[in-house]
């Protein structure tokens, strides 16, 4: 059976270039990067080179990059660390309703500590309104966090404008850029970003490595104590091979951004044309233009997304219900709900996320199977196209 992977927003394969870069760190230069002997010094040199690559890729200084275990840790650190370090200036935080769970849950944890959080609405395309943001800013607002690219629908936020608004009011601006790097150009200085979360495994790098960019001068408490690693700001032995892989992956991602986006746009546009022609009662969720090419969220009326994903899986096709982090639990997508996507489409929404290695044959196979399984599920559905139960 053919196997087609269309869940690249969940994770990607490692490119061979990245694997080659990582290999020596496994069994040749395998020291602990915190050790003072030569094995340790070799390892730290690898780490520092990776750090330089990450910094260069996003327009930052190397001493502003702190490696983490991934995007979730980076988000936790940013939200909790900034809030706690700046609480003498206020206890109000603003985020959007469509942030990743690692941001939302961090906010919920801070609410238990006495912080107040405003969750901004988004429009039907998933965009935050600047007017609403300005309206919600208070004298005691200390942090605004808005993700650069939404992981479920791919909408790109107006980061520069949001950052400017934050700074005009003396507020720190954080962005979760996990889905952004390699898909849109990000320059932390040009965009006035103060703190930013990144993850390696969404850009053909290894799982288990990410980074938090913290602009020099921004106060941010530690999240993980118990070691002098990362200049005393993040305890724990670094996963050196993963960090090395991360450095290489981000270098490639930024280098190849235009070529990759063009290729994926071709695939995506073809896919959208075909599903519109072959399958009735569907809806593409998200912004028509201000989006990354790789993420396509489609709602299918009269079917359930888990059933659809499972049927496709039985045909060898991997896609996702909303996001990988929330799948497996019977809850509606908070992103699609915030965008006020009609209920009948939320129930049957799935995310296709294209990678750079997908072929036309893969896509055609997917289209054929998708058409079949949607028909099959609709034939036994309790709901007709009018929305009334049969």
């Amino acid at each position: 059976m053919r196997r087609v992977y269309l869940d690249n927003a969940a994770t990607t394969y490692l490119s061979q270039e990245v694997i080659n870069e990582m290999t020596p760190a496994f069994n040749v230069m395998y020291g602990n990067s915190n050790s003072i002997h030569s094995f340790g010094r070799e390892a730290i040199a690898l780490v520092d080179r990776a750090r330089d690559r990450v910094a260069k890729a996003i327009g930052a200084n190397s001493n502003e990059i702190y490696f983490t275990s991934g995007g979730t840790e980076a988000n936790n650190w940013a939200i909790k660390g900034i809030a706690r370090a700046n609480k003498e200036n206020g206890k109000h935080i603003i985020v959007s309703k469509i942030e990743h769970d690692s941001v939302i849950e961090s906010c919920k944890a801070l609410e238990k500590e006495g912080f107040e959080v405003t969750y901004l609405n988004v429009d039907s395309n998933g965009l935050v309104s600047l007017a609403e943001l300005m309206h919600e800013i208070r004298k005691d607002t200390i942090l605004i966090s808005i993700m650069a690219v939404n992981n479920e629908v791919g909408t790109i936020q107006n980061l520069k404008a949001i950052a400017k608004t934050a700074h005009e009011n003396g507020i720190i601006f954080h962005t979760d850029a996990v889905q952004a790097i390699g898909n849109v150009k990000i320059d932390v200085n040009d965009m006035e970003i103060d703190v930013m979360s990144i993850s390696a495994h969404k850009m053909y790098g290894p799982k288990g490595a990410g980074a938090l960019y913290i602009k020099n001068g921004v106060k941010c408490e530690n999240l993980i104590d118990g070691g002098t690693q990362e200049r005393g700001r993040r305890g724990g032995t670094l996963n050196v091979p993963a960090v090395v892989g991360f450095g290489k992956a981000i270098e490639i991602a930024v280098r190849d951004i235009i070529v990759n986006q063009q290729k994926i746009k071709t695939i995506r546009d073809y896919f959208v044309r075909q599903i519109n022609a072959r399958i009735p009662y569907i809806r593409v969720n998200g912004h028509q233009y201000q989006k990354v090419q790789g993420i396509l969220n489609v709602g299918f009326e009269m079917v359930d997304s888990e059933a659809l994903v499972t049927m496709l899986d039985l045909e060898g096709i991997a896609v996702s219900v909303g996001s990988a982090c929330t799948s497996g639990v019977a809850q509606k997508s908070h992103v699609l709900e915030a965008m006020k996507v009609p209920e009948e489409y939320i129930k049957g929404s799935i995310r296709f996320s294209f990678g750079r290695n997908v072929s036309k044959d893969d896509i055609d196979y997917t289209l054929d199977r998708l058409t079949e399984v949607v028909s099959k599920l609709r034939a036994i559905s309790a709901v007709t196209k009018t929305g009334r139960a049969k």
């Binding site: 009269m302 079917v303 359930d304 888990e306 059933a307 499972t310 049927m311 039985l314 497996g328 639990v329 019977a330 809850q331 509606k332 209920e343 939320i346 129930k347 034939a379 036994i380 559905s381 309790a382 709901v383 139960a389 049969k390």
Partner: protein, 185 residues
């Protein structure tokens, strides 16, 4: 997450679809998850389930749970259906623990179908009773009408006879008068 058996059933779920001539049909819609389950069954005159079908807008678990219910209620009486709870499903198929709650949705739909069955039965019985009563009424009314018709017919007969008698008398009278008038000449 799902076992091989669950996935096998899910690929081609038995008993999926509508049921012509169903005498019990029910729907349950869960607001939180958006799942909707429809259960249909048909019984014989002893209220034994002959056939059962389902339609579902829901997860793998919802579809499989619905199918498993329908497979296992054929042959049961409606009275036996009333005693079923979600364990009837979860004991017959190995759904993951965090998905077992959907069995209750299916039972809820079944309970609505059972209610519908009794409503239909009551309606049927009421209609039968009314039909019987109508028939008795009609028979009685016919009898009365027949009786009245008979009586009327008798009346008319007697009247005619009377008239005929009168006619006869006047004829006879006329005949005698003619006879006597002949003598007068």
């Amino acid at each position: 997450m799902y076992s091989e058996r669950v996935l096998e059933i899910f690929k081609n779920p038995p008993h999926a679809g509508g049921l012509q001539g169903a005498n019990g049909s029910g729907k349950y819609a869960d607001e939180k998850s958006g799942d909707q389950i429809r259960v249909y069954f048909k019984t014989d005159d002893k209220d034994v389930v002959l056939e059962a079908r389902f339609k579902a807008l829901g997860s793998v678990a919802s579809i499989v749970a619905s199918s498993v219910l329908c497979s296992n209620i054929v042959g049961l009486t409606v009275k036996e259906l009333q005693k079923l709870d979600s364990s009837f499903i979860t004991e017959n198929i190995d759904l993951p623990e965090d998905k077992q709650y959907v069995a209750q949705f299916v039972i809820n739909a079944l309970n609505v179908a059972i209610e519908d069955f009794f409503k239909n039965k009551e309606k049927e019985q009421k209609q039968e009773k009314e039909s019987k009563q109508k028939s008795v009424k009609a028979k009685t009314a016919k009898k009365e009408v027949d009786q009245k018709a008979k009586e009327y017919a008798q009346e008319v007969k007697e009247k005619i006879e009377e008239e005929n008698d009168n006619k006869q008398v006047s004829k006879t009278k006329q005949a005698f008068e003619e006879m006597f008038s002949a003598w007068d000449d």
